[in-house]
């Protein structure tokens, strides 16, 4: 609404509000569906950075950690101990630590890229990437469940025990929807939505502020651009929190789903 107002107050061009097209940034190849896009490149860079940093940080590990090792260990320990071990249980959590650690570091770095200068693109704001990760988790936890009980046993185990007979079909359908649709979709959409909306908000404040300052030609709007930039800064800090939180939540939920498939009872 205020954007329309701004557009009306602006010059001949008017202000164009940022939207989803801002996230479409093909770099090479114009064949559309297979174009190499900016987020794809950012994703590759992030993976390379993670591999190099981890490789260097773990080259000479000592029992008494140094400063660099401390940071690596803190990150690894968060995923390994606070998430994997506490949720999956100390018996066989180690199998899933690589998966969870890869997820966590990849999501975290790509989220942080949203506010790191020159990258400034939260890769997870493109649905394809959260979808890939959610699908991996989806496949893993279903595979674990089916491997453990067989397909029939696994589907049967979705039903909580001790229900009266007449309600069983209804609950079964609900559980089926939860396990096969709600979980992967929410896992992907939660991450995507947070990154997408957050970045859109930053774009709005910063491009809006820029427009008001440079192109509006109105003193009132130029003055008003200062709090707008201020909000941009505040939202950047807020984004930092959200970026970390989303990486953590995604990993936490992945661990929860895996733990659910490994647990004896529902």
């Amino acid at each position: 609404m205020s954007l329309g107002l701004l557009a009306a107050a602006g010059g001949e061009e008017g202000f164009t509000a940022p939207g989803s097209p801002d996230f479409w940034q093909p770099l090479f190849g114009t064949s559309g569906a297979l174009a190499v896009t900016r987020p794809a490149i950012v994703l590759v860079i992030s993976a390379v950075i993670i591999m190099v940093v981890l490789s260097v940080a773990t080259r000479r590990l000592s029992i008494v950690p140094g400063k660099g090792q401390m940071l690596t260990e803190a990150t690894y320990g968060l995923v390994r101990n606070s998430i994997a071990r506490d949720i999956i249980g100390s018996k066989d959590f180690l199998r899933f630590v690589p998966l969870l650690f890869s997820c966590f570091t990849l999501i975290l770095l790509n989220n942080l890229f949203g506010i790191i200068p020159f990258f400034q693109y939260p890769t997870m704001a493109r649905i394809a990437f959260p979808l890939v990760l959610a699908l991996v988790i989806f496949v893993v936890y279903h595979y674990l469940g089916i491997k453990r009980r067989g397909l029939g046993g696994y589907l049967g185990s979705l039903l909580p025990p001790g229900l009266p007979g007449w309600i069983k079909p209804l609950v079964f359908v609900l559980e089926l929807i939860t396990y096969f649709i709600t979980r992967p979709v929410t896992l992907a959409l939660r991450l995507f939505g947070n990154m997408f909306a957050g970045h859109l908000l930053l774009l709005l404040f910063i491009t809006g502020g820029e427009y008001m300052l440079l192109h509006s030609g109105s003193l009132g709007l130029q003055i008003f651009s200062i709090p707008t930039f201020g909000m941009g800064v505040v939202m950047t800090v807020f984004e930092l929190l959200v970026e970390f939180l989303q990486a953590y939540i995604f990993t936490l939920l992945a661990a929860l789903y895996i733990a659910g498939s490994l647990a004896d009872e529902h």
């Binding site: 297979l34 174009a35 591999m51 773990t58 029992i63 890869s102 997408f196």
Partner: protein, 192 residues
């Protein structure tokens, strides 16, 4: 979808054909990138990073357990040493008590002995003094007797030598004699 379409219509017009019209639909190229990159990262982390970190964790656990064991051993040794010191201390205390008791007894014995010795010495000295006094008295008596004899002889010779007519002179003689006697006596005292 058809409801949402107009909202993004402007966007759809601007984009290349490959871009999905809605941000909620995945782009195929990115999907493939995502799968490949994640698979590569997963393999790298699983094959290299996690084994290194886990090896270090195991090593650290071993080191900590080793340290705990070492500390327990050190504690046991310290406790043993403490017991030993306590035993030695108790022994030393008993020994000190014994020595002190002995010293007290010896001291008492020495005092008694010294007292006896002193008594004997004093007895001896007393006896010796008494004997000496006796001897001196005997000697003095003998000397006195000799002196008295000589004095008597002197006196007699003087009496005989002087005329006895004048009683005044007679009394003078006697006075002189007595004075002589006294003088001799005084001389005798001073010479002794």
């Amino acid at each position: 979808m058809q409801l949402a379409a107009p909202v993004f219509a402007a966007a759809a017009e601007e984009t290349t054909p490959g871009d999905p019209m809605y941000p909620i639909l995945p782009h195929l190229g990115e999907l493939i990138f995502g799968i490949v990159v994640f698979a590569a990262l997963y393999l790298f982390v699983a094959k290299r990073i996690v084994p290194r970190l886990e090896a270090m964790y195991a090593e650290r656990r071993a080191a900590i357990e080793g340290n705990v064991e070492k500390a327990e051993r050190a504690q046991a040794e310290a406790a043993a040493a403490l017991d030993e010191y306590k035993a030695q201390l108790a022994e030393a205390r008993t020994e000190a008590n014994r020595i002190r008791e002995e010293a007290r007894q010896q001291g008492a014995a020495i005092v008694v002995e010294l007292r006896e010795q002193a008594q004997a010495e004093s007895d001896r000295i007393t006896t010796a003094a008494r004997q000496q006094i006796e001897a001196e008295r005997t000697q003095a008596t003998a000397q006195l007797r000799q002196e008295v004899g000589r004095l008597a002889t002197d006196l007699a010779s003087r009496i005989v030598g002087e005329s006895l007519q004048d009683s005044a002179r007679q009394s003078g003689v006697v006075d002189r004699f007595l004075a002589d006697l006294e003088r001799d006596e005084a001389q005798g005292v001073s010479t002794r």
